[in-house]
Structures are given as structure tokens and as C-alpha cells.
Symmetry: C2
Amino acid sequence: MTMTADQDTATLVKSLEELLGSDDIAAARDLLESIHPADQADLYQRLPPEGREGLVALLSAEGIAQLIAHLEEDVREQLVDRMPRAALAAVLDHAANDVAADVLRLLPPSETARVLSNMATAADITPLLGHADESAGGLMTRGYVALHKDMTAAEAMTFLRLSKPLAEEAYYLYVLDRQNRLEGIVNLRQLIVSDPQAVIADVMARDIVTVSPDADQEEAARLLQHYRLRALPVTDEQGVLSGIITADDLIDVIAEEATEDMYRLVGLPADESVFAPLAESTRRRLPWLLINLFAAFAAAGMVAIFEGTIQKAAALAVFMPVVAGQGGNAGIQTITIVVRGIAVGEIELRDARRVLSKEIAIGIIKGLTFGLLVGIVAWAWQGEWAWGFVVGLALLLNMLVAGALGALIPLGLRTLRLDPAVASGVFLTTFTDVFGFLFLLGLATLLISHLT
Amino acid sequence: MTMTADQDTATLVKSLEELLGSDDIAAARDLLESIHPADQADLYQRLPPEGREGLVALLSAEGIAQLIAHLEEDVREQLVDRMPRAALAAVLDHAANDVAADVLRLLPPSETARVLSNMATAADITPLLGHADESAGGLMTRGYVALHKDMTAAEAMTFLRLSKPLAEEAYYLYVLDRQNRLEGIVNLRQLIVSDPQAVIADVMARDIVTVSPDADQEEAARLLQHYRLRALPVTDEQGVLSGIITADDLIDVIAEEATEDMYRLVGLPADESVFAPLAESTRRRLPWLLINLFAAFAAAGMVAIFEGTIQKAAALAVFMPVVAGQGGNAGIQTITIVVRGIAVGEIELRDARRVLSKEIAIGIIKGLTFGLLVGIVAWAWQGEWAWGFVVGLALLLNMLVAGALGALIPLGLRTLRLDPAVASGVFLTTFTDVFGFLFLLGLATLLISHLT
């Protein structure tokens, strides 16, 4: 079967549910086996609980291992929770060992030990469990092929043929010394095109990009993307090879981190999904809006200070959303560029001054443009130059503040070693609201005799 | 040299500029050759124009080809523009042919033909030029290795050794029939671990994920990520293999598309960079803010309708930012989740009703929670139940609208086959401002006798 982009999950869900409903187990199994594990995972995630159990019952331990590799984390956790521990050990023995380690991290420590004691691959997986889930160490697998530099290409090929490395992790071969320190890398293609009598030491590349097991997974993803690698070796301080991270795992990291940045800017938890249960989504979104409410009260408090002025010139309320809104939107543009620039490594801390002065300059240009425009509208509408002056100057000042804060907030969070995206958006719009109202209503109070 | 995550570009820039300044060409070349092309590209991008020319002068045609592969598009275009056409042909002969095609697409058609006529690899590159830059065809390379299914594993290895495929594109080997239709795929590892006498037809995988050359590059990226592939074959309607797309190119697509979504939500052009010249950045950001200004005027117009009410009860202006701000932020949460869900393929159009009803339900829960909270504050502050009722109900209604529109706007844009992210943010906050002020000031006008 040649699969195309138009695989229709909904149709598959329907067919499978019908077959399971009519107890035609053989046909259901045939259908399932014709589907790529990645699509089985999509299918699984769209089934109701009883359908999910039916699907798992059709699969072998190896099949479940492949399914688990493609499930999203929360769904994977539910599946693992319901599985008998002996069955789980058999499944994990068939999984890539980075996947097995991820699953074991989901269990309480006592259960992890129990499952490991029933696993044939425990020796490979135990060292992986010491690393945090979001670190380079937490992504690595030990399923790499190690060579010695004195081997010939022909010997290396024979070694490969006999050891039959399990996964597709065998694209790069790692040359280690007696202390297991990484000395070089050979890729399969080099091995094949080399003279069979060539010595590995002469074929291998010695310029190696490595990452430490404690590095953040984002750092590992950036290295892989920057150097366009297919796998990244993880080495400790002594240069000993701890494992490798394959490109497919880091592609997920790159996509996740981008989503995380977007979500954090607007105060959503990184793993929020549109199909999460209603109660869970509500519980996750409310706290941020509560923080936002305090911010809104700060802006409201600023307005309350000037309630007397508004009573005298109610048209000021008309210009409040214009001054606050234009400032907020200009600032959000800046903050998005700076947050993303930091995330992809384009902006480093030493660039802070350059970024800040550019964004302030743009803020002034934006402020002059829109201040003039809105000022003229205000003057024309109210028939009084003071209206134009108050509204226009307030907008100019607010856009200047927006540009400066749009750069300062993420750079400041970064300096404090915090995530530049976290809550950046709410900080910014709170400031642009508060300052916008202060500039507009403060100037109006000073010039009130010219406004009424 | 073993490279680590801490490669310091700024230090390298300084050293290289000093060496170029002191005319120590040999030392400058040694320094440059010790650096990975990806880091040379970073270095290049941080040099002033004369430094950039100095750097290029140090490199061979092959070195320039590798540098070009890692440059960002605008920088690449500037470099190519300044290069003599004969030199460019020599450089492109050393480049991967997807990179060569990308560069040739930057030139006017007449120049493209002239450069091609001087290139040894013209025959491979010409077919690539017919595809749009952002399509699957535009990303593919023809540097794949093709086998025949009647070959044995040993014959395939000998063929590989003799043909010495150039790039690292040789991880998968493609099995074609006499009409060049793709029949199966063998990976190098399978070839090596197979019995040398095994026939390719028995070793190859026949379940193949392919993409059409006209498909959007985002579609190709999604397939690669979903099926965890290292390369994706591109086939036409007849199943003829046109080329392959390697994972490193699609990783860039995944990162770019995520940035694009973020940028479009806040009205930035997709390729805006923090280090773009001031004039360019200003020119790119102003149009959006102008659109936003019209939106702000719409909100201001709504307030103007109720100016008389505000004159009677100026405290209404205090609650305006609370009602509009909470609605806007709640809606932005929803819109971000829906835009991202559509982008990563989690949400399809058939899910529209489910997404909409969930987001409306969350909007009601948010509205009840914050409506009650803010209503009590308003009542306590103004000492009148009607204040609590007006402010609380306005907030409840606005959060309901925000939830509904946060889902409807991106889903609607998607139905119209437009980008769901484009301008979504400004549409949404315009509506939540306009509706928020309508609810607050409209209710206040109805109940004005109880408020004053």
C-alpha cells in the first residue's frame, strides 16, 4: 500500500469500530496491520475508551511498542496506567530505549524498579533514567553502533552484519577509545564507498559536534538544526559517549518549543490541546486570566484616579481604547520578534543594546506617525487644538514606551535566566494600558481648561 | 577540533577582522577552514560588507557552495548578486542541487539560463526549477541513489562503491522500475545486514510514504514528522520518482512555519528579522498598525455613541479596560490554540463544531467566574447592586463572544482557504473591544437611573 497525504483517519475510525462491534477480530487485525504505527496512534487517539482497549488487544507486544512511540504524552500515560506490569515489561523490551525510558519516567519509582526487573534491556535503559525528561540526556538512546579505530572498513562491515543493529540508529557509527571516549564518527555511506582495506581511523571524521547530557533539549535541537545533522552524540565531561539523539526526536522538540513560545506569550500551558477535556482546559486557562485581571485592575485604577477629569470631558473615554490599543499592538510586535529571536538563537544578550535602541527608534517613528494622524482626527472631531495635542502626544509617548518595553521585558527575563516568553504579553499590555491612560488622562488634567 | 555549544561567534568575528586587517591571509584562511560552514555563515552574517567580501575571497568554489547552503535567504541573495556569473556557475556545480536551484530562482530568467549553460550539473537542476520555492518540488534534490529490484545486496553494494554517491543523501536507496516508478525503498543498514545474495525485491520496504511535487512544503514537513522519516520521496501522478526531500531541509520548514504563525497572529511579515535595517522594519510594521488603527477607531466609535452615559457615570470608563481586556485575552488564548492546532494538523474542518462548542462552553465558565468576581468588586466599590449587575453581565457576555470568535475566526479563514493566522489577532480584539463596550455601556444606558 502506498500511503498518500490524504489518509482519512475518520473513515478508518468508523471501519475499525464496525469490525470491533461485529466481533470480526481477524478483519480488524488485518485492517490495523495495514496502517503505519503513526496512523494507528492517530486512530487510537480518536477512539472512545472501549475502542482504545479493543485496538490494543489486537496488537502484539511489538505492535504496542510501536504504537506507544507515536502517542502524545497524556494519552501514552493513560494507556500505560491501565496495562498490567508484566505486559508492560514485554512491550518496553520491544521499544526503542529512549521511548522505554520515557515510559518508565511516567511510573512511580517503586513500579519502575519492578518493571525494569522483568526487562531484558534493563541494563541499557537504567542509565537513561537519571536524566531529566527535557534534557539532552532525557532524549538520548543507547542504541548506537561503536567501532574501534584500528578496524578496517571490511571488518566494520562484517561486525555490522553480525551485530545487526536493531533500529535505524545505525546511520552514523561511533569510534570509541578504550575508555569509551568518542574519537570520531563514520557514516554508513563512507564505510561502503571506502576501500575495504582502509583503516577506520583514516576514514572517520574528527570534527565532532557533541552535546552534554545536562544541556536543555532546545540546545540539542539548535545544534542539530544548525549543523544539519541526522543524529547528535551526547558526551560527558570526560568525552565518554553516553548515547545519541536522533533527528526525529529533535524535530518534535523544535515543533514543540515553537508552540510553547506562542502559548507562553498568551499564558497557556505548553501542552494545552484543543481536544483536552473541558474541565482540564478550564482549570489550565483560568489562572492566567486571573493574573490578567489584576493587571486590568491596575489599568482601571489608573483611570479611577482621573475619574474627575473624565466627568468634565467624557470624550476622553473615546480615545482611551485608541491610545492603549495602538501601544499594546506595537509592543506585541516587538515582543514577538524579540522572543522568537532569542528562541532561535538569533539574539544573544550581547545584542541587547542594539535591539533596544532599534526598537525605541521604531517606537518613536510609529509614535510620530500615528500620534500625528490620531491627533488630527481628535482636533477635527472636537474642534479644539488641545484635543489633538493631548491625544497625539499621549499616543507618541505610549508607542515609545511600548517599543522599549517590548525589547526590555524578554531581554530582562532572559538575563534573569527565566523563559523570555513567560507572561511577557501580560506584562507588556499592562504597562501599555497603565502608561497610555496616565499619558492621556494626565495631559488632559493639565490642559483641562482647553478641553471643555 | 571538537566543537561545543559555546562557540563564540563574536570572538571569531574579531579574530578574523584582525587577521584580514593585518593582511595575514594565510592565517585568516586557516582560521576559516577550522570552522564548520554553518558557523562560517553566522560569522559572515555578522561582518560588515567589506569583511564579507574578504571572507568570500578566502574560500574555494566548494567552500562558497557550503557557505551559501547555510546563509539566510536575504543574505544569500546579496552575495549572489555581487558574484561574477562565471564564478557563480562554478560554485553551484559544487552545491547540493536543491541549493543550486534555490539560488538560480533568485536570478532573472535570462541570467538563470546563462549560468546554467556554464554548469556541468545543469541536467539535474533544470527539472527542479519548474517548481515553486515553497512547494515540495522546490525543496527536493535529485541526488538520490536508484537501484533495480533484481539486483542482489552484494551487487547493490558494489554499485554504491563504484558510483560513490556524493552527498549524505544515500541513507535510503530507491528501487525503480523501467518507467522510473518508485517500487520500494531499502535503507543502507538493511543492505549491510542482509545476506549478500539476497535479492533487493525481497529486502525492500513496499509501504512507502510519498508526497506530490505540487504539495505545500508544510504538508511535506508534516509527513516527515508524522512518520519519523529521514527523507521523503517526491513522486508525480504516475508514481515516477522526481526527487527526494531530506530531513534537514524540512526541519528548517518546521521551524519557519511555527515562526510564521506567531508573526502572522500579530501582523508581522514572516521573514521579519530583528537585525533588519530600521527603515525596512518600519516600512513592514506600519501597515498592520494602520489596519489596527481603523479597528481602534471602531471601538472608539462605539464608546462615542454612549458619551452621554459616560458623562452621567464617569466610573464606567474605569471598567472599560477590564471588560475589553479580559475578553480580548480570553479570546487570544482560544485563537492561539486553534491556529496552532490547524497548523500542526491536529484540527481538521470536520472538527469545527466540536472545537466551537468546547470554546463557547469555556467562554461561559470563564465569563461566570470573572463576571461574578468583577461584579462583586464593582458593587462593593460603587455601593450599588446595579453596578455589579451591569459590569458582571457585560464581562460574561464578552467572554462568551470571545470564546466563540476565537474559534470561528481561524476556522472561517481556513474554510475560505486563507491562512488561519493572518490578522486573526486584530479581528478578534476589535470584536472584543466593540462588543465589550457595547455590552457595558449599553446595559449602563438601560439602567442609568440605578447607577447615578
